[in-house]
């Protein structure tokens, strides 16, 4: 019986799909790294801050005003000024006085103030906002104890109202690269599998007809 010859070469489409699979695998690996560096490490850092009990000690409004930028539709921007509210709390962890911020981003945006209002064109409105909050904290919020987050290593002088990231980030960071990796592997495997099966089927058919 003559030896049957079958082509083992991949067709253009199969080649493409293998490449796509490999690309997905590479993407998965790369995105795993990227996500870990971009997302996971700041999260872990913020996770380091421990919950503590805070008590408001004093609330004050500085006369100094800060600029913020508001938008008024597309390609319309302007700056306006808002007063600075400072809320000092005593945190139970270190037993020291610290400035309260909403979260890490606000802290970075304006380390001096506790609150950065939504930027409006109208200075007065922002001022009202700030005054309302000041009023709330000085009237009702004082002497109350609430949970705050404190990072003694990185931010010994500030406490945060909330942590911006939590454990779900970890899930995202691992899940999507893994999905990509899996899909890529699946595609590659299926393509290779189909090809080898095709080769075998062809060989069988040839043997049958020969």
């Amino acid at each position: 019986m003559a030896k049957t010859r079958v082509s083992y070469e991949y067709s253009e489409a199969e080649d493409k799909s293998i490449r796509l699979g490999l690309f997905l695998i590479v993407c998965g690996i790369v995105s795993l790294f990227i996500l870990c560096f971009c997302w996971l490490s700041p999260t872990l850092q913020s996770m380091q801050s421990k919950p503590a009990n805070c008590t408001v000690i004093s609330v004050r409004r500085l006369e100094e005003r800060f600029e913020c930028v508001f938008t008024c539709g597309a390609d319309c921007k302007g700056t306006s000024l808002y007063p600075c509210l400072q809320i000092f709390v005593n945190n139970s962890e270190s037993n020291s006085i610290a400035l309260l911020h909403y979260d890490e981003q606000q802290l970075v945006l304006n380390p001096k103030c506790s609150y950065v209002p939504k930027c409006e064109r109208d200075n007065q409105k922002m001022r009202e906002d700030v005054i309302r909050l000041q009023h709330y904290w000085s009237e009702e919020g004082s002497n109350q104890t609430f949970t705050c987050f404190f990072n003694p290593q990185r931010r010994p002088d500030d406490v945060l109202w909330q942590r911006s990231h939590d454990a779900s980030v970890l899930l995202h960071c691992v899940l999507w690269p893994m999905v990509s990796l899996l899909v890529g592997t699946l595609i590659v495997l299926l393509t290779v599998c189909a090809r080898s099966l095709a080769v075998r089927a062809e060989a069988i058919q040839k043997r049958k007809f020969s």
Partner: protein, 1139 residues
């Protein structure tokens, strides 16, 4: 920073704290475990981060839903297709293994089919169920989308237009926020987009059905675009919100534009297809990249809670991408998100490569297109000629220099060059300099379309220039013949003048049916003419230069100094012109007219076109007394420019008889009078003329029909002929050689081997065997060279008498001595080797070496003379005997002349700064004083007739175009009588056939040949001392029917005969008042003398012996003591004395 702030602050500020105010206590409660408050605060805080999306109370971003639909569609479909394939194969395998499993395996694919229904691939899955309607459906879908019918074409175009429409919608929407919640009922763009996408979906389905390889289709670029743009739109209707998302991918559809245009048959040339391809790929990559940047920059990183976004408009992104891709990177805009930056990193890798590759190519395509395209616009009232073939800087500049020469009277001709490659910069500059008369078109002569572009059917002529330096002459000829065939095939009426390199290829041209030499088609065979010139130089030294100067256009240069150049250049500026002779000349005999023209009009008439019968037109050179001029006879003149020649046509005996200054001869009013007066006379003259011709025939016949039964001439009667001999008969040993050839022979040194290209030695031998010589006048030709090479040529030579071969190297002095080279009339050095090397100066090495070798040879019997010569007072009477004085000089000249490579070399370098050229000329003549950059025709070796380059034959092209008589004349002079009849015979069979001496053939012997007469020895000796050239001319014409047309004069122009100088230069057609000096030799056209053959033998023997004696004794011979003489002049002298 500011924009960052703007997005951040509103994201927090507005809602956070005021809302917080409401639930702060709760949060605090949460912090307080005792209260156990609800965890809802977490969610509400989340809302605070998404204030941009006002449409939903939850305020949640839904972008991932859109992305997920696309990804799931794509990957799901892909996996299903792959699974399907695998299962089909598994089924096949199992089927073969055992029929039992068959039932199971059928189930599996159908299950898969159900899964994939949502992706619109139902049809595919039902192959197993109903394959017959499946195939018909597939065929129908294939017909629908294929571009072969109008429906399919319309569909394709429609899809493309809609894709562009979708892109436009994307551009409109891109100014909106990335994620927004428009109302579907009111938002116009959304509705339109929906319609588009429904169409795309349908089209996608059609394509899917029609696809043979589903996997390939699935991974097709267009499909991927569909996956990422179509599902999100449907989803957006469902969710009532829209995400700009990946809609920018629609820009990728632009890649299709070239395909679409090809379908519509708009793009046809490869250049335009390439251009559109490049542009579309570039544009779509650009727009797509900009779209991605726009998306991620405007939405921000998911892991930064979308807070690091910046608002960039789409066009800013387009700008940013271009700035980045071009590596300029201004930095006024930059990507701020991590995603954008990562994308940039990879995009720069690809985009930079693409930019660097595409932009120059696009620019080149755009800039270079149409530069030499288009078609020629005929200028009314102007003729045009098409020049093609070997278009190089050198060939074109030579051609233009000659063609557009100011001495030509009215060059009202535009020159159209057609060549398949673009001209280089130098050539372009040359065209620009002549832009009023020269146009260049890029195209192939083989392409009828290009021929139509240059309007060749209206062209006056088509000129084909051959590459003289081609390493494969036969291939070059073949390509030129193909050009001729192409043109003749296009239109057989076009007049073609082509250059040919090899003589034997000319026959192919003659065999082209529409080739018609009577209509002006001409082939200028360079090898034939070159060797012909060389052969003529063997008969009269310096003739090659003289003739070369006659047909090349050169202006006169005035030199005040009394040096040889002054006279030489005067001659150089002379050219050949034709014009009709005025009716005043009708009835006069040729010598009378000739004298009249020379004396009165300052013109030299050397030939006339003679209509012997109604149709037969013959060119007659110096026809002799018996020819009387007819009305409207075309004369061929040698003159300075065309205006002078006009005089001959307006000359009127009545009005201009007494005018002394030829410049005053203008058209006069008495023309009619003279015409009528002469008309009666003309008739009588005509009759008389016929009688005279008959008479001359009668006289010539009895003389030469001595042995009618022996074939002495070839069938045309133009050449001496002998039965063909075997090559062994012609081969001589050294001792035989020295016995055979004693003196007055021609030595031809051949450098060449078996592999060398054939030179066509027949063209060298034929002029020396012309039938207008008597048998005893024929010079013995002895070839010295490789026997292998000569065997290749022997077939063409075997029919000529007095040809011998000495095998061996021409560099061997023993060989040269054996052939008595010191006694030969002329030594010719030819090199057949084609050097393919780049070093042009090495091309002539053999010829140069050979010539120097011979020059430096010393011969015992002349040793005393040589010593005397070196002291500068050798008597010139020794000319014949001393090798240094005449033979070597001649030989030296000849060696320059001959070396085919030398000639090549000279030609190559001529118009350029000619270092190599000059080098090669200088090697030949080591004591000349030429500047390195003199043009060839100004160099001393050329002026002396010691250099002859093929490049001078270039001028023959334009000369032929303006007047095809000139080519005939030159060929008649040079080849010794080559006629179209002979050529057709050679085209039939490559050998000459013998013929019996019939009266018809014998009459053909009666033609002129060129000789050289020493002034001192002939009957003109008395004119030698201070006589005028004009007197000599008249005397020679009147007495002997000899037409003098040049002087060969010693370089230092001695007043006496005592001079050591041996080199001579050529003065072409000297003016009447040129003072003669005794050492001059005169070129003249001499009539064939039938009577001479009878006693020629004794004469030549006597003259020869006298020369031998003169050689030994250095005594004087003939009438003038111690004066130069040479073999032919003395022969002539004897001959003249006989008269």
């Amino acid at each position: 920073m500011s924009s960052k702030g703007s997005n951040m602050i509103p994201s927090e500020g507005g809602n956070l704290w005021p809302d917080n105010g409401a639930f702060l206590p709760r949060k605090m409660a949460k912090g307080n475990p005792k209260r156990g408050y609800s965890p809802k605060s977490q969610m509400e805080i989340l809302i605070l981060y998404l204030p941009d999306i006002p449409c939903d109370e939850s305020g949640q971003r839904m972008w991932w839903v859109f992305l997920a639909t696309s990804l799931v569609t794509f990957f799901g479909g892909l996996v299903i297709i792959l699974l399907w394939r695998a299962l089909v194969y598994i089924w096949t395998v199992c089927c073969q293994c055992g029929n039992k499993e068959k039932a199971q395996s059928i189930d599996i694919p159908t299950e898969v089919a159900h899964d994939s229904n949502e992706d619109g691939e139902e049809e595919d899955q039902e192959v197993e169920v109903a394959s017959d309607w499946m195939t018909s459906l597939k065929a129908w879908a294939g017909v629908m989308i294929c571009a072969q019918n109008s429906t399919g074409r319309m569909l394709v175009v429609l899809v493309f237009i809609l894709s562009i429409g979708g892109l436009v919608i994307y551009l409109i929407d891109s100014s909106d926020p990335i994620e927004s919640c428009p109302d579907f009922r009111t938002d116009f763009t959304l509705q339109v987009d929906m319609v588009f996408n429904i169409f795309f979906l349908v089209y996608f389905g059609l394509r899917f059905i029609a696809a043979n390889d589903k996997l390939k289709f699935w991974l097709d670029l267009n499909s991927i675009v569909d996956f990422f743009t179509v599902p999100p739109v449907f989803l957006s209707m469902y969710l009532n919100r829209s995400w700009l998302g990946l809609r920018f991918l629609r820009a990728l559809r632009l890649i299709q534009i070239s395909e679409i245009l090809q379908f519509l048959n708009i793009l046809q040339t490869s250049d335009s297809i390439k251009l559109v391809n490049l542009c579309s790929v570039f544009l779509s990559t650009w727009l797509t990249g900009a779209g991605f940047i726009h998306l991620v920059e405007n939405s921000g990183d998911p892991w930064e809670n979308f807070e690091n976004s910046q608002s960039l408009s789409y066009w800013e992104c387009v700008y940013l991408i271009m700035v980045t891709m071009s590596t300029v990177g201004y930095g006024d805009l930059y990507a701020q998100t991590d995603l954008g930056r990562i994308f940039m990193v990879f995009f720069i890798l690809g985009g930079l490569a693409m930019f660097a590759h595409y932009v120059p190519e696009i620019a080149a395509l755009i800039l270079n297109r149409q530069k030499y395209g288009g078609s020629y616009d005929l200028t009314p009232g102007k003729k045009h000629i098409v020049v093609c073939g070997n278009i190089t800087l050198e060939s074109v500049s030579n051609f233009l220099k000659d063609f557009l020469h100011e001495d030509r009277d009215d060059v009202n001709v535009e020159i159209v060059f057609l060549h398949h490659t673009e001209p280089n910069l130098e050539l372009e500059a040359l065209f620009k300099r002549h832009f009023t008369q020269v146009v260049f078109f890029q195209g192939s002569i083989q392409n009828p379309f290009d021929l139509a572009r240059v309007k060749i059917e209206l062209a006056d002529a088509c000129l084909i220039i051959a590459n003289k330096y081609s390493s494969d002459p036969d291939a070059e000829d073949a390509s030129n013949i193909m050009r001729v065939i192409s043109i003749k095939n296009y239109n057989s009426n076009i007049r073609i003048i082509t250059q040919m390199l090899q003589y034997h290829n000319k026959a192919h041209l003659l065999n082209i049916p529409s080739w018609n030499w009577r209509e002006g088609d001409d082939a200028i065979c360079l090898a034939e003419l070159k060797l012909g010139f060389i052969a003529q130089s063997c008969l009269a030294q310096g003739l090659s230069t003289m003739l070369a100067n006659l047909f090349s256009m050169r202006s006169s240069i005035q030199i005040e100094e009394e040096i040889w150049q002054k006279y030489y250049l005067e001659g150089v500026s002379q050219e050949m012109y034709t014009d009709y002779l005025s009716s005043s000349f009708v009835g006069l005999s040729f010598p009378e007219v000739c004298e009249l023209c020379f004396v009165k009009l300052n013109l030299l008439l050397i030939a006339i076109e003679f209509k012997s019968h109604e149709r037969n037109i013959n060119m007659m050179i110096n026809p002799g007394r018996h020819v009387k001029l007819q009305e409207k006879t075309l004369g061929i003149f040698i003159a300075g420019d065309a205006k002078e020649v006009k005089r001959a046509s307006v000359y009127c005996k009545a009005c201009h008889d007494d005018i002394t200054d030829p410049k005053l001869i203008k058209k006069c009013g008495c023309k009619r009078l003279t015409e009528s007066a002469l008309s009666s006379m003309k008739k009588r003259q005509k009759e008389g003329m016929r009688d005279s011709i008959n008479f001359s025939k009668n006289t010539s016949q009895p003389v030469d029909t001595m042995d009618d039964n022996v074939k002495r001439f070839d069938s045309t009667g133009m050449f001496h002929w002998c039965p063909s001999r075997d090559i062994d008969m012609a081969v001589l040993t050294r001792s035989e050689a020295s016995m055979t050839v004693v003196s007055g022979h021609v030595v031809v040194c051949i450098f060449g081997d078996v592999n060398s290209a054939v030179m066509g030695l027949r063209n060298l031998v034929m002029p020396l065997r012309a039938s207008n010589f008597h048998y005893h006048e024929l010079k013995h030709i002895i070839f010295v060279g490789s026997l292998d090479y000569l065997k290749k040529e022997w077939d063409t030579l075997s029919n000529f008498p007095k040809v011998s071969i000495l095998p061996g190297s021409p560099l061997s002095r023993a060989n040269l001595r054996a052939v008595n080279i010191n006694l030969c009339d002329m030594c010719v050095i030819l090199s057949a080797n084609q050097n393919t090397g780049d070093d042009t100066s090495m091309q002539d090495k053999e010829s140069i070496l050979g010539s120097l070798n011979i020059q430096s040879m010393r011969f015992e019997d002349t040793i005393g003379l040589l010593q005397a010569n070196s002291h500068g007072f050798v008597p010139l009477g020794m000319d014949r005997s001393s090798f240094e004085n005449s033979s070597v000089h001649g030989l030296m000249r000849q060696s320059v002349t001959m070396g085919s490579n030398i000639l090549t070399e000279l030609g190559t370098i001529l118009p350029v700064v000619s270092i190599v050229n000059d080098g090669n000329v200088q090697y030949l003549d080591q004591d000349d004083d030429d500047d390195p950059d003199t043009e060839l025709y100004l160099t001393q070796p050329f002026a002396c007739g010691a250099a002859f380059a093929v490049s001078v034959l270039d001028s023959l092209m334009s000369a032929t175009y303006f007047n095809d008589n000139i080519l005939t004349l030159i060929r008649t002079l040079v080849t010794g009588g080559s006629t179209p009849e002979l050529e057709s015979l050679l085209g039939e069979e490559n050998t000459l056939r013998g013929g019996y001496s019939t009266p018809e053939t014998l009459v053909k012997r009666d033609r002129c040949h060129v000789t050289q007469v020493a002034l001192c020895e002939g009957p003109f000796a008395e004119l030698g001392e201070g006589g005028l050239y004009g007197d000599l001319f008249c005397k020679a014409m009147k007495t002997y029917n000899m037409l003098c047309f040049g002087i060969y004069r010693l370089l230092d122009m001695p007043r006496t005969t005592e001079t050591g100088c041996t080199k001579r230069f050529v003065i072409t057609t000297p003016p009447y008042d040129l003072e003669l000096i005794p050492t001059d030799k005169v070129f003249c056209l001499m009539q064939f003398d039938p009577t001479r053959g009878q006693f020629g033998n004794t004469l030549s023997h006597s003259s020869r012996s006298s020369y031998n004696s003169s050689k030994k004794t250095s005594a004087s011979v003939g009438s003038c003591n111690s004066q130069p003489k040479c073999y032919e002049p003395c022969d002539n002298q004897k001959y003249l004395e006989q008269l």
